[in-house]
């Protein structure tokens, strides 16, 4: 039996509830991206917030913070069978509780810890790599992360820009964080932001580029090392790596 759900964390947790209290399943997939196999029987599980809350509370009660965040981060990853991996991991974790932390080398646990780390690392990366443009009334940043990390950035930036209005736009998934005076929410976002930049914005962009070029020591040039830290896929929206100075980034 394969459970399908709507892609939300609540939906996934409802599947886990059904796995324990209804019928055991062998895999969980998001309905939109599920790739049907010949002999697999599927069932769509409707999201039920009562059921998901119960599972969520059980996770908070029984798991360490470390385990909980790795599970949640893995859920946000872009890996096709992450939900099935999580199912395998949760079965062990609900059995052993806090002792799961000591079982790193079990494959089911290790996979989740590994992917969770990757997602956490990408979040950390974008805390530094996001670039905002001052569009007059608000700050705007565009990015294309591999994993669905946008919700992990909200708290950091809404605290940092407490008296600003800002938008962080995940172009690939067409969603955005709208932040205003310390509050924020994630929403669908399809607007195309216009590129009429203020003189001041262009000036500071050029100033930043000058600074970036001057701060490197020529005698120590090491482009390979630079690329280890900042792979080319992340450079598209960065001014210092050639993004267009006159357009919004």
């Amino acid at each position: 039996m394969i459970y399908l759900y709507d892609g939300q964390f609540d939906g996934f947790l409802t599947c886990i509830y059904h796995h324990y209290y209804d019928e055991k399943c062998d895999g969980i997939y998001e309905e939109k991206t599920y790739d049907p196999k010949l002999f697999e029987i599927t069932r769509f599980i409707k999201t039920d917030s009562d059921k998901s809350t119960k599972v969520h509370q059980a996770m908070l009660d029984q798991f360490s913070e470390y385990m909980y965040f790795n599970i949640y981060h893995t859920f946000l990853s872009n890996i096709y069978d992450k939900d099935t991996m999580l199912l395998n991991c949760l079965e062990i974790a609900f059995k052993h509780g806090l002792a799961t932390d000591r079982m790193r080398t079990l494959d089911a646990i290790f996979q989740v810890l590994k992917i969770g780390r990757q997602v956490g690392f990408e979040k950390h990366r974008f805390m530094g790599l996001l670039r905002f443009s001052d569009l007059g009334h608000y700050l705007y940043a565009r990015f294309e992360p591999d994993h669905n990390i946008i919700s992990l950035l909200g708290e950091h930036f809404s605290d940092r820009f407490r008296e600003e209005k800002f938008i962080i736009h995940d172009v690939r998934r067409a969603i955005a964080i709208i932040g205003h005076k310390g509050q924020w929410l994630v929403t669908d976002f399809n607007h195309i932001v216009d590129d009429n930049l203020l003189d001041e914005e262009i000036f500071f962009r050029k100033l930043w580029q000058t600074y970036f070029d001057k701060i490197a020591i020529e005698d120590r040039t090491n482009l390979k090392l630079q690329q280890n830290f900042i792979p080319k896929k992340y450079r598209k929206h960065l001014l210092e790596f050639g993004a267009n100075t006159n357009k919004s980034i």
Binding site: R131, D134, H156, F204, T210, Y211, I217, D219, K224, Q226
Partner: protein, 411 residues
Amino acid sequence: MLENNMMERLGILAESAKYDVSCASSGVEKKNTGSMGNAAACGICHTWSADGRCVSLLKTLMSNDCVYDCAYCINRSSNDIVRTSFTPEEIAQITMAFYRRNYIEGLFLSSAVEINPNHTMEKILKVLTLLRHEHRFSGYIHVKAIPGADQMLIYQAGLLADRMSVNIELPSESSLKLLAPQKQSQKIFLPMAQIRESIIRAKEEKRHYMSAPSFVPAGQSTQMIVGATQDSDRSILLTSEKLYKTFNMKRVYYSAYMPVNKGKNLPDILTAPPLIREHRLYQADWLLRFYRFSAEEILSEKESNFDLDYDPKFHWAINNMHLFPMEINKVSYSDLLRIPGIGPTSAGRIIKQRHLIKVGFEDLPKMGVVAKRARYFITCDGKFFGIKSFDIASIKNAVNPIPKHTQLSFF
């Protein structure tokens, strides 16, 4: 407001500041208490420059117009370079503009000694006051404490900055005499001691009153130049150890000397910067701070410099082969740290798991252990996975084989 030559001046002053190594924004976790800015304990890098160094802070000088004539420094008074400076208002403005756009994590402000130490420190303090009180900036600020400046000025700055640093530059009194005769090591240690005292006092006061002001919460750091003088690696490392112990330094940075000037007491202008040596010093520095090694263990009296082919920990292990192999299911945490290929994280994971299940050799990569390095020094549940002959030469060769054929040089 946006003057045209601001671009030019930032170019000059950033270029003058680039030999300062420190760019860390780590060590303090704080929420936004003003209007803009916060800080994460882990530090955040915002980009990486072409030399592969992380750019986290806006690193610039207030001025490059220096009264000192230190032989190694690009800004020495006898050099014929363009002299320029920023006003405190300009620095604050650029910092805020960059920070709002998330280009940077904060400010690292240093300065040449302009007119005299007090004048320079006053200007630095002015920037801090503007950022903290006028712009209500709550992000990370690292400033230099200028040796010779009034104690009160340094204290005032420490109340507003997150980190302060005084560069020792050269590891011994004699080197300092040779290359920077206008500076005295006593004058450099004075502000370091003052900062240490104030940090201790502020922490003590915080224990009694929640609202007591904090002083340089991310601690102090310093920097040493490697390769400008004859000082050995051993004397540099012993100096670092002393700095960590006596001044509670958070970090000591090392910078391979770039021959920017000519001078009779300096290495030739064509000397390549000793990058591998710098790398080995950082590795040894990590051994001091996180691996519970002492400087005497890393470089004993007999050796004065690092082996450039092997890292210091491996070098130590090879010289202490009588301690190995260690059984990873039995030895203590601090012994695990001594095994090449195992670090604090993986040692912690081994300890965690072995309470429950024995750790086998196949588990090691999942723990983050570099098995191809550690295998010669460990047993897993009594089994040894290294090579047949447990002798130093064959282990050395297995870890870093000497190439059989090398390209002959034409010249």
